[in-house]
């Protein structure tokens, strides 16, 4: 370019940069880079049917008719405490929810702690107490654990990894591949509260909201839903990568098209404002106490009514529907009546320049 004059006949353009040789933050964003990492690095050597199902929890049959759901989740969040929760509550609810999303009843959790040298013991006590409260609410027990300490500077205070185990009722089949054309898509409440609350706690917003993280155990909500319908086909908690990523996964697993109605997607004004300021889309912001349910349309009113009677489902609404095409795609009908694609996030979500 340096010796050339502007010319439209010889356009000039940079070479690509792939991030295939080093891990970068985008590999943990819940978007396409993470999906590729799982597909390229983890699946080939570890493949088995439970893993390849690609759901929040792996389901295995351990004896005739007895099926277990197992899920594991490592929790790293900065700051450790934020409005509405902390890393302890997150570590319990995250895993409880992942187990519950295949329709299982979560029973027991394990917890591993990676502690940074110099961490205040009273911070750890506070976190563990928070875990106890969350476990009580979810009606699960933490039955084993592990503790490792790393040198100062080798961890950000405290990381927690939890594994959960739950029991599946016979005949229950809930998973990302079960969405069917005609199904309705329900969201249990407003999108993006957790992600924006944590951004604010991190001091990254530059302005104040009164938002709290939505962290909550959703197993009781799910049990209530399942008590009124056997047409709950898919459940998913839209955590990292947000609702857009979760719905894209479902569309791909079930090979259906999912069409959202922009006007019906619940977003709190503070979340909408923060997203406008930063150039984010609430559909990609993390949630920790929300679920997406894909349900048979004939049962949708009954399921919604039941959800509205519960603490974490009182704002549940239908936000879209499942159609035959385009297979594997998530579409959005805009407020203006046009249609556009909602894709997986490419990598790390970055605020736009202006």
């Amino acid at each position: 370019m340096t010796n050339k004059t502007p010319s439209v006949e010889s356009p000039i353009c940079p070479l690509p940069r792939r991030h295939s040789d080093k891990i970068v933050q985008g590999h943990g964003s819940g978007g396409k880079m993470m999906a590729d990492l799982i597909k390229d690095v983890f699946y080939p050597p570890l493949a088995n049917p439970a893993l390849l199902a690609g759901d929040d929890a792996g389901v295995v049959e351990i004896s005739d008719g007895v099926r277990l759901a197992i899920s594991t989740d490592a929790h790293v969040v900065s700051p450790l405490f934020f409005p509405g929760g902390d890393i302890g509550k997150l570590s319990v609810c995250g895993t409880v929810n992942d187990v519950a999303m295949v329709g299982a009843r979560p029973l027991y959790l394990s917890a591993s702690f990676i502690l940074e040298e110099g961490l205040d013991i009273n911070i750890l006590e506070k976190v563990v107490n928070s875990m106890k409260e969350a476990a009580n609410e979810a009606d699960v027990q933490i039955i084993c654990g592990d503790t490792k300490v790393v040198a100062h500077g080798e961890a950000d205070g405290l990381y927690i990894s939890t594994t959960g185990i739950g029991l599946l009722e016979p005949g229950r089949s809930i998973g990302g591949s079960q969405a069917k054309p005609g199904d309705q898509v329900i969201i249990s409440g407003s999108l993006g509260d957790h992600g924006i609350a944590v951004l604010e706690a991190r001091g990254d917003l530059g302005f104040e909201t009164n938002l709290e993280s939505d962290i909550a155990p959703l197993n009781h909500l799910i049990r209530a839903m399942l008590s009124v319908s056997d047409k709950v086909h898919v459940l998913r908690d839209p955590t990292r990568g947000g609702a857009a990523s979760a719905l894209n996964e479902i569309a791909k697993q079930s090979q259906v098209g999912i069409i959202l109605d922009e006007g019906s997607i619940p977003v709190k004004p503070a979340v909408a404002a923060a997203c406008e300021m930063l150039g984010f889309d609430p559909l990609y912001i993390a949630n920790e106490g929300k679920l997406i349910a894909v349900v048979g349309s004939e049962d949708a009113p009954r399921i919604l009514e039941k959800m509205h009677q519960t603490r974490y489902g009182e704002d549940a609404v239908v936000i879209g529907q499942v159609e035959e095409s385009p297979p594997g795609r998530l579409l959005l009908k805009t407020g203006l009546g046009s249609t556009r694609i909602v894709d997986l996030l490419a990598g790390e979500m970055l605020p736009r320049i202006c």
Binding site: C13, L15, P16, E276, D343
Partner: protein, 370 residues
Amino acid sequence: MKYLTEYRDADLVHGLINKIKEITTQHWTLMEICGGQTHSIIKNGLDQLLPDQIELVHGPGCPVCVTPLELIDKALAIASKPDVIFTSYGDMLRVPGSQADLFSVRARGGDIRVVYSPLDAVKLAQENPDKEVVFFAIGFETTAPANVMSVLQADQLGLDNFSILVSHVRVPQAIEAILSSPHNRVQGFLAAGHVCAVMGYWEYIPLAKKYNIPMTITGFEPLDIAQGILTTVESLEAGTCEVKNAYIRAVSKKGNQNAQAVINKVFEECDRKWRGIGLIPGSGWRLRPLYTKYDAEKRFQVETIQAEESPLCISGLVLQGQKKPDQCEAFGTLCTPENPLGATMVSDEGACAAYYRYRTQTPGSQEKGL
């Protein structure tokens, strides 16, 4: 949201679209200058609502897209140095340089931080007196006031560990480069509202007259853009070539004179290379000699870094409105946001990225667009 949802009102937008349909008698090619407008048009599917005769082409107003390769290489060289905290607006991290991008430098241990304002970088410099803090000052006229304020504030605080890597570009000179090309097919411009909020629109009046072309100062919400298109088509149909302001809630003819004064205090005009386009005379800003000590290029002695770009994609044509993103063979196959061949695929404001995010179909599908 107050003062936002009003400008997304579907009935009002459809009312303007209907007016556009009523008055359009022939094919017109309009360019929206700003990447923010491109993003809004594609995100809201506004172009799907327009009559077929109105063609929107996407302009070079994405600062991330047009920052030249060698500036990225300079940024990478500085960010790789020990004792440097390199700060940047978020989406610059993904832009590929010759050998790496800022993400890769961060993965190798470089201290690279996303800031939301250049004044955050000044604060970092205050808090880290033993580190060199560098801010990647890119952008059009819109970001210039905040970027020069960081220099003035560092000066006032007497900071000697703060500097900026400047890659500022200007819109009127880019418009002139497009209009003076023998291949130009743009017949009307939607000028960038935020740029004009700072600079006013007095600079566009002689341009419109010289090239006999209507320009409308246009905002970013669907209603703003529909109004901008309607106003431009009205001028085209009437055969007039005025500059009209369809963003009066933010823009005046003279603009924000205080902002212009601080820009002029710190920056002076210079020639600037645009990625994908080439050198456009007088199209940039650089630090005035008085503020040279805040020039990161000089401080870190990276002035001599040169870079050759590879002729692999058509982003230059896209940036000049001569091709649409999906007219590129690599679009959506070899070139995706995770693996961008060109800068227009990198930023959310890049036309290719906007098309990819909102328009691509599943791989293998014959259909393009919706």
